[in-house]
Amino acid sequence: MKEKIYLYTGFERFWHWTQAMLITGLLVTGFEIHGTVDLMDFGTAVKYHEMLAWGLTGLTVFAIFWHFTTGEWKQYRPTLEKMGDMVCYYTGGLFRGAPPPVKKTPEKKLNPLQRITYFILKVLLFPFQLLSGFLYMYYNSLPAWGIDISLETLGLLHTAGAFAFLAFMVVHVYLSTTGETVTSHLRAMITGWESVETGRQ
């Protein structure tokens, strides 16, 4: 049996896609600054990187506000329940066409693996990258603020964070194809509606 449920609100979809664009832009301009890719000149890359960084910060502040006022932050509370089942599913059940062990509902949109991943992303990686980024941006003012950290260290930390984001995005984009059909997760993120299995076979 299949059922269509409304999973993602307008704000969440807006948030997700804006964030996706901002982070992609930050990765491209960031690796341009790093000297890995050569798509534009250094100055342009720095300018857009700073603009995108401010954009992402604004969006994140908004999103935090939204999550706390709606209580949606609870979605990200990590849980061990069915964690093992999920691992088994991705390494076995999925290939056999078995249904996912955790049913998506608007109250519980995220499976335990997603929860722990997004939790780490939001509680560790985001603050880490924003903080190291802003210290980098205001590098010249750091001595006046009594912060003693070298540009090299900041560059290193911020680059490490960027690699983590990139690795996350690679896996994240791939896992979006593991829904009911290859595009059903993607479609849900666009329309808000996802068709899910009801009841277990």
């Binding site: 100055g43 290939f95 560059g155 690699f163 690679v170």
Partner: protein
Amino acid sequence: MVCHDTTGTYKKFPAGCGHPAYEEKKMGKKVFIPVDLRNVARHVGRTSRKTCGTCHFYGGGGDGVKHGDLDSSLLTADKNLDVHMDAGGLNFGCTRCHTTMAHRIAGRFYSSPSTDRYRLALPDDDGSRIACESCHSRRPHRTNRKLNDHTDRIACETCHIPALARVNPTKMWWDWSKAGRFDENGRMIVKKDDKGRIIYHTKKGEMRWATNVMPEYEWFNGVITHVLLSDRIDDSRPVRLTQIHGSCSDPASRIYPFKKFRGKQPYDPVNKTMVVPRLFGKKGTGAYWAEFDWLKSVKAGMDAAGAPFSGKVGFVETEYLRPVAHMVAPGKDALSCDECHVEKGRLEKLRGFYMPGRDRNRVLDTTGWAVVGIALMGILIHGLMRIITRSEGRRRK
């Protein structure tokens, strides 16, 4: 007089120790008629680029020899050559920047620390130095905040003087070891290039000239020391006659542009010192320009200087770095970010600091790409397995 003469008739006699010709004198084929000092005195006026340039444009024996940023092209500079001395624009005289107090001209490099601590170089508050910051402040850029973040480590001149000698050529190489050659008739050889610059002279040796010279860059805290006659030199590599002090770990140092003047000079290969040759004089004095014998010339020079000399003369390659502060190009021609923030950029030789775009940590980069690579491999294998198992599943059905 030479600074304040507005008639243009005040000329010094080259061998007159600073005096003009008081009676008619000959120097080679040139005749120096006595200067009408009374007339000059009646026409003293303010100094100008022309009067200061009488000496400073021709330092080293000719136009643009010594400096790559001070030559006669500044007399009629346009804005592209020098935004300040642009004859059709700001038209600064030298003293607009080199302000004077009782004939003490502001601006000395030799012994003062760089002006880092001061926004305005007020007279005597830092010796008497002038700087771009005296007029423009440390944060002159209105549109690009990041540029202002650079001024603590990079001198204004570094970004704003992209090339030296942008109109007239400047001398870059002077090889004294080639001096002293004569043609088959025993006459002195003088060779000129198509622009009329001397490239060989029996008296002086071989020279090379260049236009649009990219400066050299060094960390510099304002202190320059010179190799003295008493200093031992290392003749196994080019001798740096000026030592530029400063380093990136010294917060008072900034990256400055320099003209690097290279050449070959006589030295004492036994005592390992530089030497002073005697160039000018009559036959019998040892003067090189009369006898063309380096041994005699160096002996005469070192005796006059009271310095020890072993009796042997060799030639050593030398470098002379000279800070650059003129020929400020318009803002649009300033260095773009990519001239520095790339591998093999202008600052390639300067190390010990982290510059985004040029420097990176190999271990981190390798690890980072490895992680991303593993993630990609992982999804590729997972995806393939999905495709295979799905088609198998369909077949079974």
